[in-house]
Every structure is written in C-alpha cells, then in structure tokens.
C-alpha cells in the first residue's frame, strides 16, 4: 500500500501507540482488500455496545484511554451507535447491574478519547446528514446503506475496531464503496405496487436484500410510483442490509446516483425481477400471527425519528397497554429530549409504554433480557428486527405500527 510520509510516521509510532495500532490494523485490512492507499474520512461512527465488546473489548478501550492525552484523542468527529443499557431504565427491564457497570466503563474510556456519545443508529436524521461524495467510516449497517444510497456519501461497513481506527487516524483503506466502480448497479428490481407503511418498506428491503445477497451487490429499483421519505428509506435500507449484507442501493429518480436507469448501470441493465404485493404478503405471513398473546411489542431497529415518535404518541393517546404485554419505544438521546419537549414522551408513558433512550433492543443483551422477562412472542414493525431477533430465541411477527399498538392494548393480535 502507498502511504504518505505522515502515515509512515504514524505507523512508526511518532504520534503514540493508539494511532500506531490503528494504522497497523488499517494496513492489514487494506492489503486484504487490495486498497492502493488510505483515503481521508471526515467522520467516524463506532459500534461498541458492551454485548459485542465483551470484557476484553472494554479492557482494550481502557488501555487506549490510559495513553497520554494527545496520543489517545480522535482526530475527526467520531460518534457512537446505540449502547447496551439505558441507565435510566435498565432495572425496570431486569437487565443486570454488571452490564450497566460495564457500559459506564466503556463510556468513560470513549469519552477520554474525545468520542461523542451520540448513541444512535439514525445519526443521518439527527446528528448530521452526510453529503454527496463525502468519505466516511461508518459502523452500523443501516447507517452505511442510508449514507451511501440516499446521501451519496462513501463508506464501507466499518466494524467497531475499524471505525475506531479511522477516528484515531482520520483515514481508512480505500476499497469497496469508496471507489466509483463498486457503486454501480448489479441487479434490477421493479415494484408493481405502492408500499403503504414502514413495515411494508422494510419487508420490501428484506426481499431485495435476500435476493441480492452479498456485500458486493448493488440493487437498483426502477422508478416506483410511491414517493418514499426518510423514514421509509431508513426501514427499507436497514432491512436490506440486514438480510443481504448489502451496503448500497439505487432508486431511480429518488437517490442521487441514479437520476435515470442508464446512470445506475455500466452498460445495459440486467433483466428486472418483479416484486409484487404477494411477495410482501408471503414475507409477512412467514412469521405468522400472535393471536393468543403478545409478550413484547418493540418499536426500534432503527431508532425512531421524531416523526415516528409523534406517530406512536398519537396512536397511544388515551389508551392503556395490556397488563400482560410490554411496549418498548427506542429512540436516541436527541429525539428523546425533543419528545419530552413536545409532550410525546408523556403521552406514550401515560399508556404504560416505556421510552428507551440511546439503545436499540437487539443490542441490549436481548437473550438474557428476554429470559428474565419471559418475552418470547415479539411484535414489531421492523423487518430488520425480525431478521436478527430469532437468533436470540424470540418468535417475531411483523405488522404495521397501528396494528402493533392495537395488539399492545389488547394483549394479542
């Protein structure tokens, strides 16, 4: 790999051990993916919840945080993905004290490195929207696919250690979605119906993700009749990334690198795969229904925008969540504060539902939390959550937001 003089100096340890370690890792990854050099990035976003860090990951962060101040500081704005514990709510959710303590240690270490604890997987809706052509080192797969596709920014899936390395060095290996040639369409889909709610957009993303199926595929969706907004594209992309490891899509006439079909492909587009309402119905039906009882209803994955917080509040106004059911609403600290101000939090909590801040359910030690609360039958409007949560011993069902709220009130669907 070609390194600049500055990068060589970093690798030689002239800027301290954290940056040396970070650059060493980046060179290994760069060689693995045939990167010619490193590209400067202007922001990093780190997934570092304690469930995935484990004790050893937390100790690793603490060792970095114990280095001299000028050595351990990140050099670009560096923000964080959701945490494993909401310090205000964890006892109510029967999460263990030891997890909360491990979280506090992690937060202290990351703060010492100058990392901003945004605790969000919707930074593009709340912290700062990425810009066309901006090179980034983002962590959460939903964040990456939205930033690449909807904003035209450039990021690979950067796992926690890689995003942290980028924060420390201000660069990342130039491969994959930093390069023009990886961003061209590989598959074409046509949608012959109008998705009507977020759950349907998620289901659509799930189907396309499953059929595209790899990190190196870029699905192109022919101009749809529906006009998706930010929340629709958020659910669409998050599900696609979750089901297919896909980091980028184009929607003709909607996303910036696909003003028309020709622009989305190199050469002639491949034959289109048509997706019908039946495909979405079949996807939804594959999860069945919870007609007997719903243990837990979850809104999250991704965290809710302020608009979605309002929608949940309107649906719950004047109603009571059933005694046998828990309703959880996960958002980030920024939207939580705004929801407090707008009165949404009060309306939601008056129903008995719980608003969580800075977390996103599946990163919350979901298996142990489920066992402690006897949660198995889960209902959500998030296709991404349906995909992930079966691995944690839950039986998920997907439904639109209003039906989820109705079921939470009745205790069953």
């Amino acid at each position: 790999m070609k390194l600049t003089e500055y990068e060589h100096a970093m690798l030689a340890g002239e800027f301290g051990e954290p940056k040396r370690l970070a650059l060493e890792q980046q060179v290994k990854v760069g060689r693995f993916f045939d990167a010619e050099d490193l590209v400067e990035v202007s922001q990093a976003h780190i997934m570092a919840d304690t469930e995935s860090l484990g004790e050893s990951g937390v100790e690793f962060l603490e060792r970095l945080a114990a280095c001299p101040e000028q050595d351990r500081q990140v050099v670009i704005p560096t923000i964080t993905d959701p945490r494993g514990v909401d310090q205000c709510q964890y006892k109510r959710l029967k999460q263990q004290q030891s997890w909360a303590f491990l979280e506090l240690r992690t937060v202290a270490a990351m703060r010492a490195m100058g990392i901003m604890m945004t605790d969000t997987c919707i930074n593009y809706q709340t912290v700062q929207a990425p810009v066309m052509g901006q090179h980034l080192a983002f962590g959460d797969t939903g964040v990456v696919i939205y930033s690449n596709s909807v904003c035209g920014a450039r990021s690979n899936f950067e796992g926690g250690p890689a995003a942290l390395a980028a924060g420390l060095t201000g660069r990342t290996p130039r491969y994959g979605y930093h390069l023009d040639r990886c961003r061209r369409g590989t598959h074409l889909f046509e949608i012959d119906f109008e998705p009507t709610d977020l759950a349907e957009w998620g289901a659509l993303g799930a189907i396309i993700g499953r059929e595209s199926g790899s990190y190196w595929t870029v699905p192109v969706i022919a101009r749809p009749s529906a006009e998706p907004g930010s929340d629709e594209l958020k659910h669409f992309g998050a599900a696609m990334a979750s089901y297919g490891s896909v980091p980028m899509f184009h929607i003709v006439g909607v996303t910036p690198e696909a003003p028309d079909l020709k622009a989305a492909f190199d050469g002639a587009p491949p034959a289109a795969r048509r997706i019908t309402r039946k495909d979405v119905d079949d996807y939804n039906a594959s999860f069945g229904l919870h007609n007997e009882k719903v243990d837990v209803v979850v809104f999250g994955a991704p965290q809710l925008s302020l608009i979605e917080m309002r929608q949940v509040a309107m649906l719950l106004k004047g109603r009571k969540v059933h005694d046998g059911t828990t309703l959880l609403v996960a958002t980030n600290p920024e939207n939580k504060a705004a929801s407090d101000r707008m009165g949404f939090t009060e309306t939601i909590e008056a129903s008995g539902a719980i608003v969580l801040s800075g977390v996103c359910f599946y990163q919350m030690y979901a298996r142990e939390m489920g066992e402690a609360n006897n949660w198995k039958r889960l209902l959500t409007n998030s296709a991404k959550l349906c995909n992930i949560i079966t691995g944690y011993g839950y039986e998920p069902v997907i439904a639109p937001m209003d039906r989820c709220v109705d079921a939470a009130v009745k205790g069953k669907m």
């Binding site: 693995f32 997934m47 050893s56 796992g159 926690g160 250690p161 990190y215």
Partner: protein
Amino acid sequence: MADKIYKGHVGIGEKVSGVALVAKDNFSARYDLNRVKGEFSRKAHKLHGENYVDRILILDNAKGGVASAWMLAEMKSRGMAPAALVLNASNTIMAQGAALANLPFLDRFDADITSVVKTGDRVTVDPEAGTLSIHD
C-alpha cells in the same frame, strides 16, 4: 510426500498449522456460536455441536452484522478462538475483526476450499503467502 497447496488472496496474521474443521455453510461469530463453550450453537448450522477451539475453521462465506468485528479478539483473549479462520469469501467486518485479533485469516481460493479440505485433515495456513496446504 507432496502436500496439496491451494492459492488464495494475501491474508491476515501469522502462519499456523492444525486440524481442519470444515463445512459448506456460512459464518457469523454473533449468531452461530456459543462463545463461552467454544461450540457451534445455532441448530441450523452444519457444525452444530462441534467444538472449534484451536481448529483450522474452514467455511463458505462471512455473514452477519458489524458486531463480529469485536468478537474474534474477545474469543482469542480467552483462548477460545479457532487457530485460523479460512473462508471462500469474507466480508469487510470479518477481515477487520481478524486484523484486531491478529487471527490467521485467509479467503478467495482457486478452488471451493470447503470441498477440497475435509474435517480432520492436517493443514497449514500461510496468510503472507496466501496459501493453504493439506499434508499427507
């Protein structure tokens, strides 16, 4: 006796030898493993119930979310990691995780590596040369 040598892409980590554990199935550290016991725990996985500690683990593709990037280092710190991880095709996350853990890691071979190596074969993985050798 001549070894059979398969050529892959330049990998990550040090040269290592060991006994292969092979399946034509994918790999996620988060969803497939009981990392405490060192066993495959997802029932639908072809290696369900198998212990992978100190084996040369050979599987098809990397899958799953970004969490696996921390997990390889965590497993290695407890001495509960495979000796090496060998795949047909990696994603970015698994390579980043191997770089942090300094876990020998190799992919992109001139053959389907999950069909040419059999469980129980003695193999050497050389990430610098990008080769996997099967010993007689």
